[in-house]
């Protein structure tokens, strides 16, 4: 028995359907615990005041936004190499979720930026590379939508995902180069200091991250199952003709 057995659409649905409620349940528990803990039971930061609490949404969302693309990359590779339909559909299913995560990270970042930097938006390298990531998601999804034949769409989006990943890394490097060179006035997002802040902040953050990760997993499983069923309907319709 190999793991590829689960790449069979029917087997996939049969295996994952009972799992989804559990994953979803744990994820929601983690989120509730993490967010409530973070929002109500941690002290205000002496420098940032209560605005620091947005970190419980911002950081996990940012993390998942990147990981979603990474997952799509792996799923695309599996499709190109082994041609399992489920992996192509999983990549398709992950894209909108990743995009929403990117948007959440951008919006919470913007909301945070207003009190911290006095501006909603700055062309900071990290912010900028997220904007680019958002564009990649947009293009990837648009290509899926634009092509009628599902296998063709899967092939082309996989190629795009591969090439896009290389360029995304390159962009990230470019953006850092660009901004550092021009000497940005605002402080870099608190990538440095914050984690050194006591566990009071860090533990609930960790819980939230786990919650977001599981939420992503549950959503991907659900959406993949939906894509599989949509494909099944299409196949059945084709047969009826």
């Amino acid at each position: 028995m190999s793991i590829w057995e689960y790449a069979n659409p029917k087997k996939f649905i049969a295996t994952t359907t009972p799992l989804v409620p559990w994953v979803m349940g744990i994820s929601i528990s983690c989120l509730v615990v993490g967010l409530v803990w973070g929002f109500f039971f941690t002290p205000d930061d002496f420098r940032q005041g209560s605005t620091v609490k947005i970190i419980y949404l911002h950081v996990p969302a940012a993390l998942m936004a990147i990981n979603a693309w990474f997952m799509m990359l792996i799923a695309s590779l599996i499709w190109l190499v082994r041609r399992h339909h489920v992996s192509a559909l999983a990549a398709r299913a992950a894209a909108p979720i990743g995009m929403v995560m990117t948007v959440i990270a951008l919006i919470t970042g913007a909301i945070w930026g207003q009190p911290m930097w006095g501006t909603w938006w700055a062309w900071d390298p990290r912010l900028t590379s997220f904007l680019i990531l958002f564009l990649f998601y947009l293009g990837y999804m648009a290509l899926w939508e634009a092509i009628e034949d599902s296998d063709t769409a899967a092939d082309l989006t996989s190629v795009l995902c591969l090439v896009g990943s290389v360029f995304a890394v390159l962009s990230r490097y470019a953006v850092q180069f660009w901004n550092q060179g021009l000497h940005q006035g605002t402080s870099v997002p608190v990538a440095t200091g914050e984690r050194s802040v006591s566990d009071v902040f860090f533990v609930p953050l960790l819980v939230c991250m786990i919650g977001f990760g599981l939420l992503f997993l549950a959503l991907v499983l659900m959406r993949t199952a939906t894509e599989v069923r949509a494909r099944r309907i299409k196949a059945l319709e084709a047969r009826m003709r």
Partner: protein, 204 residues
């Protein structure tokens, strides 16, 4: 050299259209594909030419000997007739000699910009391309569309005397009579059953 097709299933838009096709065409022979509109002639020819993968079964002929002519001619309207032919000849590493223009009655049109040709003249130019590629196995999709009676005869003459007689092979989809001697293959019996295995079968 022969073209061997065995147990072929061809798919279009995820749906199998023809299944269980087997035939072989020997050197110097042509095969005429017949069948009503939408039976799958174009799909079959594209599969034979290697533009799309066979869903099942195999297609076998020596590599780099095939050439395909589709409904569209691949003619550049901005180039002259001569330039169009010279381009394709060069791509295939040949040169377009005078006899091709004669065979397809293009001598007078040689320096005309292809965009100003009439539909039949354009089609003659598209067919003349086959005369310069120097390939042995031709897959022709309705080659005589828009041609008048005289031009159809010209084409039939070129096909039998200049191509088949020199050891070529041709598979031709057509609705009209070409006036060449060739076995016909009626495709209707090979129509794929609606529940035949498709590329989506994993989802059913």
């Amino acid at each position: 050299m022969t073209l061997n097709v065995s147990d072929l299933t061809v798919v279009r838009g995820g749906v199998p259209v023809l299944a269980g096709l087997s035939f072989s065409v020997a050197e110097g022979q042509a095969l005429v594909l017949r069948g009503p509109n939408g039976i799958g002639k174009t799909t079959l020819l594209r599969t034979l030419a290697g533009l799309q993968p066979a869903h099942e079964g195999s297609v076998d002929y020596p590599e780099d000997t095939g050439a395909y002519a589709s409904h569209a001619d691949g003619i550049k309207g901005q180039l002259s007739v001569k330039e169009n032919l010279a381009f394709w000849a060069e791509i295939y590493g040949n040169s377009a000699d005078e006899s091709v223009y004669e065979a397809f009655d293009l001598v007078d049109l040689k320096d005309r910009i292809a965009g100003t040709l009439s539909s039949g003249q354009k089609r003659r130019l598209g067919l003349a391309r086959l005369g310069v590629v120097g390939r042995k196995v031709l897959f022709l999709d309705e080659p005589t569309v828009s041609l008048d009676g005289f031009s159809v005869k010209l084409f039939a003459r070129w096909l039998s005397e200049d191509h088949l007689a020199k050891g070529g092979i041709a598979v031709i989809a057509t609705h009209i009579d070409l006036g060449i001697e060739a076995p016909e293959l009626e495709l209707a019996p090979f129509k794929a059953a609606p529940d035949a295995a498709s590329s989506d079968e994993a989802f059913l």
